[in-house]
Amino acid sequence: MKTIRYTEEQVIEAVGPLTRTRLHRFVEAECLMPARDGGEVVFTDADVARIELLCELRDDLDIGDEALPVVMNLLDQVHGLRRELRRMALAIERQPAEVRAEVLRTRQELEEG
């Protein structure tokens, strides 16, 4: 359950196409927001997976430095939406059967206008 934390050096070592310049550029563009431990920047597993994604978006999918923050911002919004949607679905699931049916019926009505 303990989160492993990596230093800047360890992350650069672990992710092939990553250089220090590139890492700093990701942070400056706010595509990456690593935590700080005292004065030192530390990275979690989630940060590392995000860095891999950022490198692939740049190298394999030709998404340029300018477009990268836009893509990530939209992606983060998708994840935020998905999480809230999941919570909402769970909340509805925990209602009695008749309430669930009513919610679904209302939803259908809205769709049909």
Binding site: T3, D37, D45, E52, H79
Partner: protein, 297 residues
């Protein structure tokens, strides 16, 4: 794996550039992180990257074309995509619930975004709450048990006082309101989120809110009972070992844990030397009081 040329949808005579462009086209569509909710995309993306890995390598491609190797063996170890973390909630720092303001009143209530949205509409002026700043802080086990104030130094040289509550657990996050990035256009400043990481102490094992410690005792102490000293996170305390204590028996020290107790496991330790007296005594004791400790096995 099927034929890599088929997977990428290119001819056997395709140039390197054609292969690369076919791969990019498919990756844009199939990359699992661009399809957060689509589990099938992961399998297809894996197939496509494996095909690309084989065909982009001139030597491997030539051997495949000559029938020397098949398309197997290109499997990469299981990879965790960013979406896996974001879905588990580890991406918490990144995913945002800002921008739902327009959806409905229900969402306003849920996310507390309503107030922010209303302020923006009234002001007719761009407002943005400051970003949250993330920090981690390492504390000792003793600090976690007793609580107290700790200071962290920010990269800017400023310092921040963090109050550690009694019984703080590893991984807990403390929110310091308004200590994050500066808000824009009169909007509130962001918060500082400090994640606590407790430095391990080899003597103690943490289990939820309890702390475990092993305590060696001698055979005389086990048989006759004894008052012994036990290390706790905050120093040594006296504890009574009952007469006839068993190896592995667990004694409880109330309120010496992280909001829980300290559990002391007794480990029976034999004397380093068994002298003639002890051996002779055990022989005569056995004659009268012999027992079978393995009845149950």
């Amino acid at each position: 794996m099927d034929d890599p040329y088929d997977i990428l949808g290119v001819a056997k005579t395709a140039t390197d550039a054609e292969i690369k462009s076919a791969y990019k086209k498919l990756a844009k569509k199939l990359h699992p992180d661009l399809n957060p909710g689509d589990t099938a995309s992961e399998a297809r993306f894996k197939e496509v990257s494996a095909a690309h890995d084989l065909l982009k390598d001139k030597a491997k491609r030539a051997r495949f074309d000559a029938g020397e190797i098949d398309a197997q063996g290109q499997e990469k170890p299981q990879r965790r995509y960013y979406r896996d973390f974001a879905d588990e909630g580890d991406g918490g720092a990144y995913h945002t619930t800002e921008g739902f303001d327009d959806l409905s009143g229900v969402f306003d209530d849920l996310f507390g975004a309503g107030a922010r949205a209303r302020a923006t509409r009234q002001g007719q002026r761009m407002q943005m709450r400051g970003r949250d700043a993330l920090y981690t802080m390492r504390i000792t086990l003793a600090d976690a048990v007793t609580g107290g104030k700790q200071r962290i130094t920010l990269p800017t040289g400023e310092t921040l006082d963090v109050t550690i509550r009694k019984g703080t657990t590893d991984g807990q996050t403390i929110r310091l309101r308004g200590k994050g990035g500066t808000g824009y256009g009169g909007a509130p400043d962001g918060d500082a989120l400090v994640t606590i990481s407790i430095m391990p102490d080899p003597r103690f094992r943490i289990d939820g809110r309890d702390i475990h410690v092993d305590l060696p005792i001698g055979i005389d102490e086990a048989i006759l009972g004894a008052k012994v000293e036990v290390p706790t996170v905050t120093g040594r305390v006296k504890m009574t070992v009952p007469a006839g204590a068993q190896n592995g028996q667990v004694l409880r020290l109330k309120d010496k844990g992280l909001g829980g107790d300290q559990l002391v496991t007794l480990t029976l330790t034999m004397p380093e030397h068994i002298d003639d007296d002890l051996a002779a005594f055990m022989r005569s004791w056995r004659e009268k009081n012999g027992y079978d400790p393995r009845r149950s096995v």
